[in-house]
Symmetry: C2
Subunit: 356 residues, 2 copies
Amino acid sequence: MVDLGARSYPICIGAGTLERLGPRLQELKVGRRVAIVTNPVVSRFYREPLVQSLKAAGFESTVLQVPDGEEHKNMAWLAFLYDRLVDARLDRESAIIALGGGVIGDLTGFTAATFQRGVPLVQVPTTLLAQVDSSVGGKTAVNHPGGKNLIGAFHQPRLVWIDVATLKTLPRREVQAGMTEIIKHAAILGPQLFELLEAEIEAVMALDEALLIEVVRQNCAIKAAVVAQDERESGHRAVLNFGHTLGHAIEMLTEYRGYLHGEAVAIGMAFAARLSHARGLCEASVRDRIIALLQRAALPTEIPKELVGRHLALAVEADKKVSGGKVKFVCIEDIGRTKFVYLTGDEVLGHAGGTH
Amino acid sequence: MVDLGARSYPICIGAGTLERLGPRLQELKVGRRVAIVTNPVVSRFYREPLVQSLKAAGFESTVLQVPDGEEHKNMAWLAFLYDRLVDARLDRESAIIALGGGVIGDLTGFTAATFQRGVPLVQVPTTLLAQVDSSVGGKTAVNHPGGKNLIGAFHQPRLVWIDVATLKTLPRREVQAGMTEIIKHAAILGPQLFELLEAEIEAVMALDEALLIEVVRQNCAIKAAVVAQDERESGHRAVLNFGHTLGHAIEMLTEYRGYLHGEAVAIGMAFAARLSHARGLCEASVRDRIIALLQRAALPTEIPKELVGRHLALAVEADKKVSGGKVKFVCIEDIGRTKFVYLTGDEVLGHAGGTH
């Protein structure tokens, strides 16, 4: 449950639950017409069970497909979705279901945030990254040539429906990349989850269902608590940017092609752990535990040599969270405890050469 | 003041106050860069005093112009604004100022709602309609071929800055149309304001500044109280639709060209008053007082003959507030008291032939 007063919503986690969404949707008291937004890859696997479940519960679904890939999270596809929602005669009571990964969730979420000034949104994330991070918290957006997620809104879903069985069709590399955010949530706020990962990360990555459900549950509880405390990222929520300042800079310099988001953030977390130790904020053991866990998830932990240099410092400062020339950098003090440090890009990257 | 907890904001009303916005903006603690969105007509009169006031207070303004007219409240001009905001390097702390009427307010408001997931918005309405209605309450939107205001968001401004002196350059017909919403607010919730209008409407329309300030103040207090009670129009706020159900239908059938919004709503209010009396909900005197006041404001009060018929009933049912085939129609019981009645389009229009 994400506790946001009138905007509170449940996060339901299970295995093989996709075909049970219909009855749950009835409880939300939304209109009979629903739209499902997905991509061709996800559609092939999961469209039919979902549509059938909705049909059996009395809903009439329109399925809308957006091509796979971050480059389609833009205003052109947003306009496409608005047009199709009008064609399908969706009204203010109609729910829109995002069935897919982060791109589908962000684009669909922003569509739901703005169609008719906001309609009910149901997140059905099918990638690990979306299940443990982007589907929870209400951040929605599309990209703009001027910046990633530059156009967006906060629009909390009415329900997050996580079926970990959908991860079976996910490419291995995306399972690894999704682990980054779990490790992040554990490192900054969940020492217990961190220890569970230290004990079992290989089994989690082998998609042991009971273990996955437990890890996703603990992970989402952490994320939900942060969101409940600071829905619109005016303060505390910024702890979630652990690893992201450098991660975003790496993504930007490699034009969102060289690394998956989770891979870039893994490098960023390892870097933040080293910087925290170098500045005397944490023990070497804290740094080493974080890096070791990332490595066990087969994630990269070193800044690629070709990126080290002045342009990386500039890219760090180009991040939109910069305020007054200083980056609000998330450092770690211990597993489960963070500290904000305000640094210039050069101050951040002064440590880039250092190894542990 | 619109009382919305953390999203509360003041409505400042005066005459000749445009050149005093700079110092007030400083108090909001927004970034140094601001954007002013306006249209060429308003820009000619008011751009310079506003820019100078902001400059004197240490702000750096970018002025963005959108052509005048409802047909420009669309996604193409929205995209234009996003591009220019990126060019001007506006960030999350930057305020966007809407300087103009309802079109500028709605379009700019939606831009501010969605740029960087929401940036500070200041409404500086320069038409009577915008001053007494659209600038207060946080409704923002753009049109879509599928419907007026179909794409939008609720985004409360940080400040509403009303300078009634700007009405001096407003065409007479728009002053009249703006009176509609004042009469509406008075009829549904402000018996005291209604009496003030009955005593002084000619002087108000002659733009007597002291009277205007008092009328706009009372009017905005009514609107603010409704918004505070029901920010997102989930219930009570629907009283503001008094006159709007039929008004929207008339606008739709005349393709937003035959009548100004306020004129169509005036017809709708006169109609709703007659329907309320015909259904035994109010005295004939209540109906007559509303119609008389509208007529003193030189507003139309009869459905144009060529629109009466089956297509008007269908247009009423096409309104987006319809739920389950019935329109939530706002009837009046007395000056200051309303009642929701659920009717089909035919039930509404069954009274269309009746005269008072």
